[in-house]
Amino acid sequence: MAEFLLGAAAFVVAMVAVGLLRLLRGPANTDRMMAGQLLGTGGIAALLLLAAATNIPGVMDVALALALLAAFSSVAFVMSAS
């Protein structure tokens, strides 16, 4: 089961990595921020899967902190852009 969860985490990170092409390509900065947002969600999912696969204590708290701050940089981006 640990293998499967780790594989799923790897797949999510790979998907998000492909999504980062949007970060490189743009065209607008809003599109780039979307790629960042997807990376955030994917990172949370990968962390949850890693936490279940490896049993390192506290990884779940990292995911919790990321989820709490997920909107933080996007809000700053929108507020400063307007």
Partner: protein
């Protein structure tokens, strides 16, 4: 085992790609978005290196706080980008810089590859002395007991940085509130988020603070989350940054380091050395220091993001 290596290699390639792009991006705002992504990826790397405490700090400060700070500054300085970009350095400088960087890479990579085997470590000593602190998290024990002087100086550095930022204010606005005026167009969606998130954030911060004694977490991570919640409320216009000359604000900023110092001097009387904890009282004293530091650090971090005072109260 091999699957783990595939995961790591993919992650490594991603980190390098995003870092390179952050350097090459034409627009600063785009580069900062790349930097936020870089911080998120580093968080995953820290988890892979079994440093969960660091992963938490990286997620909160390295990516979140620094990202917000730089995004705001990039928007502020957008008008200057064209002029500054015209000043591209010559080919010679580029080549010399590239050569320097390649040799730095070679040197560092060599050092990493030639590190002694097995790696030197203080983990057994830390584990052996963990009992005397009453803590379960060795990183917290290092931060607040074995190397407490580092942490004390760090809190002072934070305060000094804030003093430096504040001292950049022009005389006419000294004592005013930080941040540009008219930044408070109330946005329904944002207000909703800023009303809903802070209570949850405070609960999570207290949770991180509390488990920090025995599991990954602690005052820095908790303080960063508190600071982020305060900044969010300011962005939504629910509250305003306080004027920097308020006495209560100064008290909040100084209380943490002052309590830390007081406990340090108490060490002379009670245990014979600066920052030594009397036997049996280590854990309560450490918790007291952490509890005192948390609001101070949170306020300092949030005010560092807010910047120097920029407007005075209308008389």
């Amino acid at each position: 085992m091999t699957l783990e290596l595939v995961f790591d290699i993919g992650l490594a390639a991603l980190v390098l790609t995003v870092a390179t792009w952050t350097l090459l991006a034409r627009e600063t705002t785009a580069a900062v978005i790349g930097f936020v992504a870089y911080g998120l990826l580093l968080t995953l790397v820290w988890v892979r290196l079994a440093a969960v405490d660091v992963a938490l700090t990286e997620a909160a400060i390295g990516s979140g706080m620094t990202g917000v700070l730089l995004l705001t500054a990039a928007a502020r300085l957008r008008a200057t980008e064209a002029v500054a970009n015209a000043e591209q350095p010559g080919a010679t400088l580029r080549v010399v810089a590239a050569l320097l960087c390649v040799s730095v890479f070679a040197g560092l990579a060599g050092i990493v590859l030639l590190l002694p085997e097995p790696g030197p470590t203080l983990a057994p000593q830390a584990a052996a002395n963990l009992g005397s602190t009453g803590l379960g998290n060795a990183v917290t024990a290092v931060l607040l007991s074995f190397r407490a002087i580092d942490t004390l100086l760090e809190t002072v550095v934070l305060l000094l940085a804030l003093l430096g930022v504040w001292s950049l204010a022009p005389d006419r606005v000294w004592g005013g509130r930080p941040g540009p005026q008219g930044n408070v167009q109330r946005d329904g969606v944002l207000v909703f988020l800023a009303q809903l998130l802070p209570p949850v954030g405070i609960v999570v911060a207290i949770h991180l603070f509390w488990v920090g004694a025995d599991a990954p977490g602690g005052k820095f991570q908790a303080a960063t989350i508190l600071a982020a919640m305060w900044i969010l409320a300011q962005q939504a216009g629910l509250t305003d940054a306080p004027p920097v000359d308020r006495r209560w604000l100064r008290l909040v900023l100084v209380a943490g380091p002052a309590a830390f110092l007081a406990v340090g001097f108490l060490g002379f009387a009670a245990a014979g050395a600066f920052l030594a904890y009397p036997a049996g009282y280590a854990k309560p004293l450490i918790l007291f220091i952490e509890a005192a530091l948390m609001p101070s650090i949170a306020a300092t971090l949030a005010l560092l993001v807010a910047g120097p005072p920029a407007r005075t109260e209308p008389p």
